[in-house]
């Protein structure tokens, strides 16, 4: 059995238009949602109110203690019930693999982004917060105008590195039969019985993208390091 490049060429439009679009869109939405929710969680974890910080801590630790595959299964089955509970329906509502994946990755990555943002917030000198209060700003203003912009800026390289991991992790939606880049390749691989070609190609594409992104992050890191 020779290596058949033709099957890759034939399926390129499908792989990228269907598969890669799914993967990239999912990554971008989960990154945005994850960073927003993660920052809120970080603020909760650092809150002086014990119940609030404990709640956020429990959520983060739970997410970080169980495998992503299990989390994907959890949400895949849980979201229809939560949806029914919210809309008051008496049947679990139908949620597709796409919506389920978006919710799962946003909720899951938030736990990891939270830990990064928490470290970022804690790296800001205490005097910054005090001067905010001294100027008469309230908590949200101090956070929004003083602490978070600095914390975010310090953590941009780590947040981006986490996003590269997220980009790779989205391939796990394979377990709920979503058609992401890997899922699309797997469908072709099984249809044409070209597993070697398709999976090697998938590995090369993921490598090229992730490695290029990591080089960009490294460059950015050096640039930021000079300014500080």
């Amino acid at each position: 059995m020779g290596f058949d490049f033709d099957v890759i060429e034939r399926s390129l439009p499908y792989l990228f238009r269907e598969g890669m679009t799914f993967t990239v869109t999912l990554t971008l939405i989960a990154m945005t949602g994850g960073i927003i929710f993660g920052t809120l969680l970080a603020m909760m974890r650092l809150s002086a109110l014990k119940p609030v910080s404990m709640l956020a801590g429990a959520y983060v630790n739970l997410m970080r203690s169980i495998p992503l595959v299990l989390v994907i299964f959890w949400f895949f089955f849980l979201v229809p019930y939560i949806g029914a509970w919210i809309t008051g329906a008496n049947q679990p509502i139908r949620v597709g693999a796409w919506m389920s994946a978006v919710i799962t990755f946003t909720m899951f990555e938030a736990a990891y982004y939270c830990e990064i943002m928490r470290a970022g917030i804690q790296s800001i000198a205490r005097g910054q917060v005090w001067s905010g209060y001294a100027l008469g700003l309230n908590y949200w203003q101090t956070m929004g105008y003083i602490v978070l912009p600095q914390a975010f800026r310090n953590m941009v390289p780590v947040l981006l590195t986490q996003t590269i991991i997220l980009f790779q992790d989205t391939s796990l939606v394979y377990v709920i039969s979503a058609t992401d880049f890997l899922g699309a390749a797997a469908k072709i691989a099984n249809r044409d019985y070209r597993l070697v070609e398709m999976y090697s190609f998938v590995a090369v594409v993921y490598f090229v993208i992730s490695y290029s992104l990591s080089l960009l992050v490294k460059q950015l890191q050096n640039r930021i390091a000079v300014i500080r």
Partner: protein, 252 residues
């Protein structure tokens, strides 16, 4: 809308007839641990070696080490799993490839899963080892040279014993990661804990009982690992050193 809980399902017999569902899940945990443990050995050996080599003055070896790390860090775990399961047996000499493909279950999935997880994790350990070695003061290395030790001896007696103690906390989280990551092996047919929870859901339709049980088992396992590693940390602690934490890192 409500879900009718039925916890007793855990005590009912699973369709395979090997025992109760709970027993079925516990055996799954066994497979998770056996996979993770074997992979952990591979990861530690290769990771320690590659990480150490990357701090030496052998430029060609550093290059190869860097290449190794970049390759296995930038390909998703599930894709690597498929490479080991579907692609590697095809690329091997025909007899060996066939032997692997014809291994009876679960060994046919176990072997690729262990190789995949071991190599995947070795890269992360290599990074930790390198960081640990680089965090030591330069004077340690110089002192070794001044004492007349060779580079190999300096590593063996001065650098590595300290570096490994420093990186114990990140190694703890890596050992939990390898347990969690072993769940990806369900995609190549290994019935470990998550795979069995899903199978139980398919047989019994009790989705949330199955996943709750698996979640609780994972939490307890994590707890045990953390406790064991903490005991190890205290055993090997160097008196007078503040236990080193690490800078925040991205990871899973």
């Amino acid at each position: 809308m409500h879900y009718s809980w039925h916890w007793k399902v855990l005590l009912e017999t699973e369709p395979g007839g090997t025992g109760s569902y709970l027993h079925y899940l516990i055996v799954g945990l066994g497979w998770t641990l056996v996979t993770a443990a074997a992979a952990w050995v591979i990861a530690l050996v290769i990771g320690a070696f590659v990480g150490t080599v990357r701090t030496t003055t052998l430029h060609w070896a550093v290059r190869i080490g860097n290449l190794y790390v970049e390759i296995f860090r930038n390909i998703p775990l599930i894709v690597q799993m498929f490479l080991w399961f579907f692609v590697v047996p095809e690329l091997l000499p025909e007899q060996l490839g066939n032997w692997i493909k014809q291994m009876p279950p679960p060994w046919g999935s176990y072997l690729p899963a262990v190789m995949c997880l071991g190599i995947f994790t070795s890269v992360r350990i290599a990074e930790q080892v390198r960081a640990g070695i680089n965090s030591l003061p330069r004077g340690q290395r110089m002192a070794g040279t001044a004492l007349g030790l060779t580079q190999a001896q300096t590593y063996r007696y001065v650098i590595l014993p300290q570096a490994f103690r420093i990186i114990l906390p990140p190694l703890t989280s890596e050992s939990m990661n390898i347990i969690k990551n072993s769940s990806v092996a369900l995609t190549i047919g290994l019935l470990e804990l998550t795979g069995r929870a899903r199978a139980m859901q398919e047989f019994s339709f009790h989705v949330f009982e199955a996943f709750t049980a698996a979640t609780v088992i994972y939490l307890l396992t994590n707890l045990v690992v953390v406790l064991l590693m903490r005991i190890l940390e205290q055993r090997v602690r160097v008196p007078g050193l503040i236990a080193a934490g690490g800078a925040p890192q991205a990871g899973h």
